[in-house]
């Protein structure tokens, strides 16, 4: 893992740890004001959070932290996210299929002509 990647995972871990330190005191955000405050915080954190979402399971495993609530958390790897692709058949009709992270849409299945 290079220096930049290591830094990203460290930031990622710190982000979880920081969140964990306040999790225990957190209450359900049910009022419009609490909801707006939560959204504002999420937006402030977004860029750093998004940049540190791990891609592989190995990278995700390195983000494990304990939560103050007694549980534990790890970031989910994007390689296990669902990625939606579209294929078009000979008639131009779109067919949607799910693929793995970054993979090209597989050859069309339903409309192979030969």
């Amino acid at each position: 893992m290079n220096h930049k990647a290591r830094t990203l995972w460290l930031i990622s871990g710190l982000a979880i740890a920081a969140a964990a330190s306040v999790a225990h005191a957190a209450k359900p955000s049910t009022t419009p004001q609490q909801r707006k405050a939560a959204v504002d915080t999420i937006k402030r954190n977004h860029k750093q959070f998004d940049a540190t979402q791990p891609r592989t399971m190995a990278q995700a495993n390195a983000t494990k932290v304990r939560l103050s609530s007694g549980g534990s958390a790890m970031r989910a790897p994007t390689e296990l996210w669902n990625h939606l692709a579209v294929q078009r058949d000979a008639q131009g009709n779109p067919h949607q299929v799910e693929t793995s992270n970054g993979a090209q849409a597989p050859a069309i299945q339903e409309e192979q002509a030969k």
Partner: protein
């Protein structure tokens, strides 16, 4: 009353009187797009299919919020679910992606120890935001692609319904997915996940957490034999799935049984009435002599029987037409490459009048090894369910080879009728009204479903939010009421919006006159001062 005041009044009254909806989950799309792009795209757009937005960005936001309100109505949680929402240029053929941002385990409220739960479900079970300050689900869709942004079931041919796509992807983020790599058999973090706890391989006789990594890798390509065993999903499957229909080898006994098949886009649909008999291998005496690319030279044997031909060299339509000219009553095309399930047969030719299907290379070889004396048929078994095992448990999609992103975390494409959480979203779906057995599966993993009636501003409409078969008319009522409210500057605007909605729902037969009356009585109370 102006728009903000109307919305504020309703919000306050819901807080004061809305005890019956307190358990509905608050699913909150968080718009991360910059001004002028994605969800904020200012390109003018004509309102379409019940979506009143007048810019592209506005229409996208309305669909995302509508989907959030539908899921929020169906699921119960006291903790908001935050969903990151973005539109970006993603390149050709890529429509989008979604997934949970955190795996959480061993938290207070978890039913299973050392078991991964997706963030939104973990929060719901714990009763608090376990990792505040971050979205629970990340979603991203392609700004390169033209979706249909209507909220109705009138998607034009050649377009893709964005609401169905969002409902499907949010479903994954909420927990309709495992935390396992089917290509390697490994669990994320070395921990089982709650979805895999219910993933059972009928061949191995084991649940996924009971398997070694290699056993799980093998199970990940055991097409047709891996099921979801949750009680709610199984009960739901019994309510919605059609009787099992399938291709069957009836003799000899050594290979008799039901086998997967792919259907043809040409010729008549296969049925018990038009498909059955003895199998004869077609020969044409040229090149690969069983590919049927030239006129068949064993017509006397073929006539009145099912012709079997190999895939390859020429179009499927050429092969089937040659078999038809030779007198075949049906055609089996044996694949020329391994894999399971067999894909369909593409092409068009109006001259073709006999049914044809595609079978696996493995079955083709098995049939060839015992010819002659092979008989086949197409059967309907009213005692079993299409897309479920003999115990009625819905099958999960485990194709061979692994299809990354599709394997494991979907219902099998064999389910009939089609399900929202199959890997190929198609135009037979209408997720605004029907989530089939998706909520059932989420319930098995720990989500609570709102089994009460839809409410408008705390008033009971008498319309169920979600039933045991995944029909979510009540959720649609609540989502539509929210949409009407968000667009209404005056009470009259809201009433008019709901009245038009009532008309559409009655015309489609989705609600009764009595339900419509009660819904409108509730709608009439919106914005009025309530007695303390």
């Amino acid at each position: 009353m102006n728009k903000p005041l109307l919305a504020l009044t309703v919000a306050i009254s819901m807080a004061l009187f809305g005890a019956t909806v307190a358990s509905a989950a608050d699913v909150v799309p968080v718009n991360f797009d910059d001004p002028g792009e994605g969800y904020n795209d200012t390109t003018p757009a004509a309102p379409v299919g019940g979506n009143p937005g007048t810019t592209l960005g506005e229409q996208r936001q309305i669909v995302a919020q509508f989907a959030a309100d539908l899921w929020g109505s169906v699921l119960a949680s006291d903790v908001p679910v935050y969903v990151g929402a973005q539109f970006n240029p993603l390149g050709p053929n890529v429509l989008g992606s979604a997934g949970t941002t955190f795996y959480i385990y061993n938290f207070p409220g978890a039913a299973y120890p050392d078991t991964i739960y997706f963030s939104a479900l973990a929060d719901a079970l714990a009763g608090e935001d376990l990792v505040p300050g971050y979205v629970d689900i990340s979603s991203q869709f392609s700004s390169d692609f033209t979706f249909y942004y209507g909220l109705d079931d009138n998607t034009p041919a050649g377009q893709i319904n964005f609401l169905d796509v969002v409902m499907h992807e949010f479903g994954h983020g909420l927990g309709f997915a495992n935390a396992e790599n089917e290509g390697t058999g490994e669990f994320a973090g070395g921990l089982q996940d709650i979805y895999s706890v219910y993933t059972y391989d009928n061949t191995a006789g084991k649940y996924w957490p009971q398997m070694t990594v290699n056993e799980r890798k093998a199970s990940g390509i055991n097409y047709g034999n891996v099921v979801f065993t949750g009680a709610s999903a199984t009960a739901g499957a019994g309510l919605i799935l059609d009787p099992r229909t399938g291709f069957r080898v009836t003799a000899p006994a050594s290979i008799a049984g039901d086998y997967p098949y792919g259907t043809a886009s040409f010729g008549p649909a296969i049925s018990p009435a038009n498909f059955g008999g003895s199998v004869v291998l077609g020969t044409d005496g040229v090149g690969a002599s069983n590919d049927g690319c030239e006129p068949l030279d064993n017509g006397a044997a073929i006539a009145g029987n099912i012709a079997m031909l190999d895939r390859g060299t020429c179009n499927f339509t050429v092969k089937v037409l040659n078999a038809q000219i030779a007198g075949a009553t049906g055609v089996l095309i044996a694949d020329n490459a391994p894999g399971n399930p067999p894909p369909g047969l593409g092409g068009t030719d109006p001259a073709i009048t006999i049914p044809s299907i595609r079978i696996t290379q493995a079955l083709g070889n098995s049939i060839k090894a015992v010819l002659p004396g092979v008989t086949v048929g197409f059967v309907v078994d009213p005692n079993e369910l299409q897309g479920a095992d003999d115990a009625g448990r819905p099958r999960l999609y485990m194709p061979d080879p692994v299809q990354g992103g599709s394997s494991g975390s979907h219902y099998d494409t064999a389910l009939a009728p089609n399900a929202l959480m199959e890997p190929a979203i198609n135009d037979s779906l209408f997720a605004a009204i029907n989530l089939d057995i998706t909520p059932n599966l989420l319930q098995d993993t720990g989500w609570k479903l709102n089994d009460g009636n839809a409410t408008i501003d705390g008033c009971d409409t008498g319309i169920g939010i979600v039933d045991d078969a995944g029909i979510i008319i009540g959720a649609n009522v609540q989502a539509t009421s929210n949409l009407c409210l968000s667009r209404a500057a005056r009470r009259g605007d809201y009433q008019g919006c709901m009245d038009a909605y009532k008309g559409r729902m009655l015309a489609d037969g989705l609600i009764t006159d009595k339900q419509a009356g009660r819904m409108m009585a509730c709608a009439a109370k919106v914005g009025k001062a309530k007695k303390q």
